[in-house]
Amino acid sequence: MKAKKGVSDPFEKKLKELDYAIESKISDKLDDNESVINQLFANCSDFVVRRLHIFGSIPSMVVYFDVLVDNQLWDIGFLEPLMLHESVSIDSPLQLYEQLKFKLASIVQPQIALNMNEIVQRIVKGEVVLFVESFTQAFSFRLKDKLYRQLEEPTSEAVIRGPQYGFIEKLDINLALIRHRIRTPLLKTEKLCVGGLSQTDVAIVYIEHIAQQSVVEEVKKRISSIDMDSILESGYIEELISDHPNSPFPVIQSTQRPDLVSGSLVEGKVVLLIDGSPMVLVLPISFWFGFQTAEDYYMNFIYATMLRWLRYLFAFFAIALPSLYIAVTTFHHEMIPTSLALSLAAAREVVPFPAIVEALIMETTFEALREAGVRLPRPVGQTISIVGALVIGQAAVQAGIISAPQIIIVSITGISSFLIPNPGMSQAISIMRFPLMLFAASFGLYGVVVSLIAVLIHLVNMNSFGVPYMTPIAPFSFSGLADALFRAPWRMLLRRHHHTKQRLE
């Protein structure tokens, strides 16, 4: 284990000591092994070292982390078969291995560990390790505690029609959820381990011959080159392997829905599952992917197409509506219909601030309320929403701080940003709003247009694992429009899938 950046010196020294201890071989004396183990896991109150005789008379020692092991499995599945059996004579580790396999066949499979390094790895991952007197090999058993919550509806991506459960934190279960949907040996799941201290499992999932092999290789390369002490959530990976970590726009989709992930796999995408995170990463994606939901494919395609257009329209509102309002009311008064101009002027009469300040106050307040709504405990959240609604809706207008039209603009903008299904895309668009507003306040519509063009140039420049971000619009592909501008009926989409497959092969 090599030293990491930002780690203090005593810590580094301790790591080196550990490295030294771990490199030692397994001794044939139980006492020697016990002292090494105790030294390694000193001050770990949840660590258990137990001496016992197995198969009647063989002295041995089991070590494990109490908290990581399933107690019931430990009692019934492990201790009972090993201790209550009549004595068997054992001469070699291989013989013992066979016996263990035989006795414990129903629940756990023993694995042979040859050195201390391996043993430590297994203990920290929650396995039980069995040392036997006079053998220089140890055996490990997976008696992992099934520490996971029930499958629940994903809160961030609820649908009306469609499967009502999402991924959870446990990687194995998440893999199972995908395997339940795609039943083919072509579905490959490769595991990597990242994070110096956290030792987080990352599974790369793809369908062979459909997913582009170069993308798979690239993902593997990027993940294995990650140099971090801890990877605690998929967000870490997303940022670390992203093509454009400095861009607000997401080039990797994160989702909680197994159906969406399975669909993406079939389309030839690569999926990353990170242990401990219910969010699964899908890549490569294009800009338009941020506006699609799993539900689009479950409902009538006409309605789904309408919904997509609605999302594009409101995404435009979310990014440009406040800036257009500012530009029009402070620079281009002639563009407003006369009667609207009069009522706007009337509403602005009492407001002391220029439109840009008004807009900044309200937009910032809105973002703050949104953040508060997420952070606050649920019972308090109610209060905040009522207070927020009052503050935004009534009081600010009556107090003459903000004009009523501005409230309308901010509310529409706020609602618009919630219409975008992908939270990453929604955030990106919310962020872009602010520079656009400043440009609108300085240069009017000219500023809005120039900054929109700048955003567009940025988007067109981006790519996600070799796929241009704006496909199928730029570069243009007619057949791709079926699933970007429209949600074409399935009979047409299937043909597209077929084409994708052929092209990638």
Binding site: T338, A345, P354
Partner: protein
């Protein structure tokens, strides 16, 4: 230098470039004096008087300010000056807000001012980048523009918007600023505008009405068309929506008045020109399909001979009316508001080249023949008049 640092520098330079220009034309809505209508008058000492009708946003009741209904919704101010820019400058001095012409829907030209000529006056308005060309030009009939703009109007909060809405309805005769300027600058056409006048409505309530047309010759007002003539002018210009004619078909009787009312449905006109010895000749063919909406005669129009009688009589009557209108405009006002010169320009370009400089002299003597062709398309719900049935 790293890319990020470079980007930062560029951004800072951009921001300062934007700020250093110092020419921010940012104006908040509540810093503007929104001009709804403006008027041009000429005073006795030859000075120009400009009148502005400015909207007062607080006077407009809205959901937020429920108490605003008692206030006035416009103010009308005027100032004199030797030219328009000087007068506008004086007006600006009276106001706490910047005069903004972007929403002006109407320009009213006082009769005196119009008779005096108005080329140079309009220039000041048309040069302003914010001034709209889709505002309407109207001429005051028998009053000054200032008086017109001071008239109240009941239906709309702002009288200027009232005039604008009357003009933009298809029923009225309306000329927009760009059309007016086109005609003014064209050799083969003279400008014409709607004419607005003050009327007394009810007991002592005054308001305005647009029922005449002001005919210009060059940039000077030469006369007005009567309401009946305005109707025919509208037909010529291409709009006959809700246009009705009444015909005295039979002499008045005890039981009935003998009149027939018709409404135009589809209508149009065709112009033919020919040139003989550099004197053009013009034939105009008006045609329309009409619907009978009003029958106060003894005739039953389900009979075809009665229908034919009505058609010929109607055509004849309208033809005489058009001829008299043409004579009025051509001989008396000497103004080519119909664009006959343009028509000759299009059809006989070489002849036009020779005569265009003499056009104002030639035009009054150009023979213009009108031919009207009316067809009855619909009779309405009842065939014969109800009172005929009883007498039968």
């Amino acid at each position: 230098m790293t890319r990020a640092l470079m980007a930062c520098r560029c951004l800072i330079i951009l921001v300062f470039l934007g700020l250093m220009t110092g020419c921010w034309d940012r104006k908040e809505m509540d810093d503007l004096a929104l001009v709804m209508a403006s008027g041009l008058d000429i005073t006795d000492d030859g000075q120009l008087e400009i009148t502005l009708q400015i909207a007062l946003p607080t006077g407009i009741p809205s959901a937020v300010q429920a108490g605003g209904s008692g206030k006035k919704s416009v103010i009308v101010i005027s100032a004199k000056g030797s030219n328009a820019s000087e007068a506008t400058g004086r007006l600006q001095q009276q106001l706490s807000r910047v005069i903004y012409f972007g929403h002006r829907g109407v320009i009213v030209i006082g009769e005196e001012c119009a008779r005096h000529g108005l080329n140079q006056v309009l220039d000041t308005y048309t040069r302003l980048p914010e001034s709209r060309y889709n505002g309407y030009v109207v001429t005051a009939y028998g009053s000054t523009a200032k008086e017109i703009l001071n008239e109240p109007y009941q239906l709309e909060l702002i009288p200027g918007i009232g005039i604008n809405k009357i003009q933009s309805s298809k029923v009225s005769f309306a000329v927009k600023m760009d059309e007016f300027l086109n005609a003014l600058s064209s050799q083969g056409r003279s400008p014409v505008t709607a004419a607005i006048r003050i009327i007394h409505q009810g007991t002592d309530r005054e308001t305005f009405s647009i029922d005449r047309a002001a005919v210009y010759q060059g940039n000077k007002l030469s006369g007005f068309l009567a309401p009946a003539e305005l109707k025919l002018l509208r037909w010529w210009m291409g709009g006959t929506q809700q246009m009705r004619f009444t015909l005295q078909l039979e002499p008045e009787d005890e039981q009935y008045k003998g009149t027939i009312g018709v409404e135009l449905m589809q209508s149009g006109k065709k112009i033919h020109t020919s040139v003989r010895n550099e004197i053009p000749e013009v034939w105009v063919n008006f045609h329309a399909a009409v619907r009978v909406i009003d029958n106060d005669t003894s005739l039953d129009f389900s009979r075809s001979n009665n229908m034919r009688l009505l058609e010929t009589e109607l055509s004849k009557q309208i033809q005489t009316e058009i001829q008299s209108m043409l004579a009025h405009v051509q001989k008396k006002l000497k103004s080519d508001i119909f664009g006959i010169g343009e028509e000759i320009h299009i059809e006989h370009p070489y002849v036009w080249k020779k005569i265009r400089n003499k056009w104002t002299d030639i035009y009054p003597v150009v023979p213009v023949t009108a031919d009207v062709n009316i067809k009855i398309k619909r009779m309405g719900k009842t065939q014969a008049p109800a009172h005929l049935r009883k007498t039968d």
